[in-house]
């Protein structure tokens, strides 16, 4: 599904990613953990095609296709979805209008006609229910005045609507209380399937209690320094990141 080889990326003259290798197979959930500033969010943004970063070396393939030269919307069309760490406000654009536009643009890109309005509405209602969200949500301007938890739920709501092949969740658990964390995790779990993969970026192991990963990687100083199964997450939770840092220095 996703193959990253020896990826180096920088912003300005600062190197952030220093040789990332990652192989995500269909249906797999990979967790990427690591201390602040290790390059987790950069990795998410580089995969999604944000222009602020310069890729200096390496490659990113999705389902065998080189996506590095693609504009972000074309990567989305390939089936890539990024749940943002800080979802942005777009005043005056309602959640429903935004999701409708996005869904229909993706359909257009695939050569399909716009989705019938009543089918769309049904789908929206089902996705709302999945995230225990109120219908009034649809008519609110996108992320404007949303609480931290609402913003993250809205991200997963969009994911449920757009049905990506590969979803990257960038610190989706930050700013969530325990109930919201459970709801968001349930939403993600409901979307898990043999043909959909996840890359879950997080500081903490608590999200991984709910979304159980197949693989756990530790990112430190722009490199994956340790990989393992879910027990690695437990170990990190118990011991912190210091032992990783020491091992590297």
């Amino acid at each position: 599904m996703l193959q990253i080889k020896n990826l180096h990326a920088s912003i300005g003259d600062r190197d952030i990613l220093k040789g990332i290798n990652l192989d995500v197979k269909p249906g797999e959930v990979h967790a990427i953990m690591g201390p602040n500033g290790s390059g987790k969010s950069t990795l998410a943004n580089v995969i999604a095609g944000r222009e602020d970063y310069t890729i200096t070396k390496g490659s990113i393939h999705m389902e065998g296709k080189d996506i590095m030269e693609m504009d972000p919307e074309l990567r989305a069309l390939q089936g890539l979805f990024l749940s943002f760490q800080y979802p942005i406000e777009i005043p005056g654009v309602t959640v429903s209008n935004f999701v409708k536009t996005a869904l229909n643009e993706l359909r257009k890109g695939r050569g399909e006609s716009a989705m019938d309005a009543s089918v769309m509405l049904k789908k929206m209602k089902a996705s709302l229910a999945l995230l225990e969200m109120d219908k009034g949500f649809l008519s609110r301007p996108l992320n404007e005045g949303f609480s931290g938890g609402e913003k993250k739920r809205n991200e997963i709501f969009q994911m449920a609507m757009l049905e990506p092949r590969l979803a990257i969740l960038d610190e989706t658990d930050s700013g969530l209380d325990i109930d919201a964390l459970r709801i968001v995790a349930n939403g993600v779990n409901a979307l898990r399937g043999s043909n959909r993969s996840f890359v879950v970026i997080t500081h903490y192991q608590r999200l991984l209690d709910h979304i159980v990963p197949d693989h756990v990687h530790v990112l430190y100083d722009g490199k994956i320094v340790k990989s393992g199964d879910k027990s690695l997450a437990m170990e990190l939770e118990a011991k912190g990141y210091d032992w990783i840092k020491k091992a590297q220095s």
């Binding site: 222009e51 942005i88 777009i90 005043p91 005056g92 996005a102 643009e105 993706l106 969009q158």
Partner: protein
């Protein structure tokens, strides 16, 4: 309205280091000139020219004198320079003040110059189609002369008068004489006074007491000839308890020269009447380097009597320089004035626009919602005055002035003036300045929207409060126009 239907999108060049970087201009879609036989007088401005105009229009003596009086005042005035715009001063002696497509005695569409009909086709307006499908009554002013007014019969049955200003002067002199210049006096300001002296046509509308106009009335303005100015005059009188919704649209050919458009619009809302006046202004804005384009120096003002309401809605995307302040004199008690504006400037365009709300009546209310969007190297200013007179007890105003910047070479400016002379007044003023962010665009792109679609979505969201005020079909076209005006503004 199908003014902007046949438009194709231009794909912005991509791949610069930052998204909001260079500015390229999208092509103006209405830049053609129609070859029609035109009756045009030599350039120049003096009393004789004014007499010639009046004579060509077969006007009565009082009208000629009215013009000459205005001209006498004009000679004492100087061109204002307080607006936040820079442009080369126009030499008024180089402009021709009368240009008319020949054959203008129109009784039916068959008599309209076929070339002009082709023009309307290009603009997406088929008069026939207009008549049949849209139910919009339309007056069309090309250069200076009104060439067609559709739907006259339906309106006649209601007693509604909707015709060119020339026809009104001829057939309804008592109404014209009673109201013309009562809201915008001939001595009002440099451009309005010039207009009073040399105006050549425009639209006139009268709605009798208690009548609700059954359709949107519409005027379409176009400058066609080179070296001419357009000076149209609109007078709209809504008698007691009546209602009318009025739309105007404008385009012009692309030229290297700057053309002057100095219009005057006067609205009169008698007791309990309501006027909704919507404008989509898309005069030629000049090319990407700032050469050419229309100077749009317009005076628009309405007066509200007791419990009357005037609502101005404007979507301003064209013109090289715009200088325009649709205003309300809230003379009557419980009268209401509204101003909803979207002003977009791109490339080298400059706009200084806003409103004046003059509260004289008790419990008079006004709302101002202004949305400025600046892109390229343009400058966009909001200039507004809210004045509460000593006798306007319990007057209220709410103002919201937002500016949106695209890129880092444009400017947004806000000049709100508030004068309160009555302690019972309630005033609220909100202002924001924001930048269309690369973050917003990236977010949209990540969800599958290309850049143009993303910008259109963000801008339309930002303008929503204003676009919602437009009649439905107009709103859809305005949304498209906004997207087109900003095409290539990022790349």
């Amino acid at each position: 309205m199908r003014l902007w239907r046949k438009l194709h999108s231009i794909i912005a060049e991509m791949g610069q280091d930052t998204i909001l970087d260079d500015v390229t201009s999208s092509e103006y879609k209405y830049g053609f000139e129609t070859k029609v036989d035109t009756d045009i007088i030599p350039p120049g401005l003096n009393e004789d020219v004014i007499r010639t105009i009046s004579k060509k229009k077969k006007e009565p003596e009082w009208m000629t004198q009215w013009r000459l009086d205005a001209y006498a005042v004009f000679l004492t005035l100087e061109e204002p320079d307080w607006a936040n715009v820079n442009y080369p001063k126009l030499d008024l002696q180089t402009i021709s003040y009368y240009a008319a497509p020949k054959k203008v005695q129109i009784n039916s569409l068959d008599e309209v110059d076929p070339e002009l009909l082709v023009t309307f086709e290009k603009l997406g307006i088929s008069l026939d189609e207009q008549k049949r499908l849209t139910g919009v009554a339309m007056d069309i002013v090309v250069d200076s002369v009104s060439v067609a007014t559709t739907f006259k019969k339906t309106l006649n049955e209601k007693g509604i008068l909707f015709c060119s200003m020339s026809e009104a002067i001829e057939k309804h002199p008592e109404l014209v004489r009673k109201y013309l210049g009562t809201v915008v006096p001939t001595s009002d300001n440099y451009y309005a006074t010039l207009n009073s002296a040399v105006f050549t046509d425009g639209s006139f509308c009268y709605i009798p007491p208690g009548v609700r106009c059954p359709m949107e009335l519409s005027t379409y303005f176009r400058i066609n000839s080179s070296g001419t100015g357009q000076f149209e005059r609109t007078l709209l009188v809504a008698d007691k308890g009546s209602y009318v919704s009025y739309l105007e649209g404008c385009t012009a050919p692309s030229r290297d020269e700057n053309q002057l458009h100095a219009a005057v619009v006067e609205l009169i809302a008698m007791d309990d009447a309501e006027i909704k006046y919507s404008t989509v202004q898309n005069w030629y804005p000049g090319n990407a380097e700032g050469v050419g384009g229309v100077f749009n120096f317009v005076t628009k003002r309405g007066i509200c009597h007791d419990r009357a309401k005037i609502s101005w809605t404007q979507v301003e995307t064209g013109s090289a320089v715009t200088w325009k302040y649709p205003s309300c004199i809230l003379k009557g008690d419980d009268s209401v004035g509204e101003f909803y504006s979207v002003a977009v400037t791109n490339n080298h365009q400059q706009a200084d626009t806003g409103t004046k709300m003059i509260h004289l009546g008790k419990r008079s209310k006004s709302i101002i919602i202004s949305k400025g969007i600046s892109a390229g190297q343009s400058h966009n200013s909001y200039r507004g005055l809210v004045s509460i007179s000593p006798r306007a007890d319990h007057a209220r105003n709410f103002s919201q002035c937002d500016s949106l910047l695209m890129g880092d070479r444009c400017g947004a400016h806000t000049f709100p003036y508030i004068e309160v002379k009555n302690p019972t007044a309630k005033m609220e003023h909100e202002a924001t300045t924001s930048k269309i962010g690369e973050d917003q665009i990236f977010y949209c792109q990540q969800r599958g929207l290309d850049m143009e679609t993303a910008i259109a979505l963000i801008v339309n969201g930002y303008c929503k409060d204003v676009l919602n005020q437009l009649p439905m079909e107009f709103a859809v076209e305005a949304q498209k126009l906004l997207a087109i005006s900003l095409e290539g503004s990022v790349g």
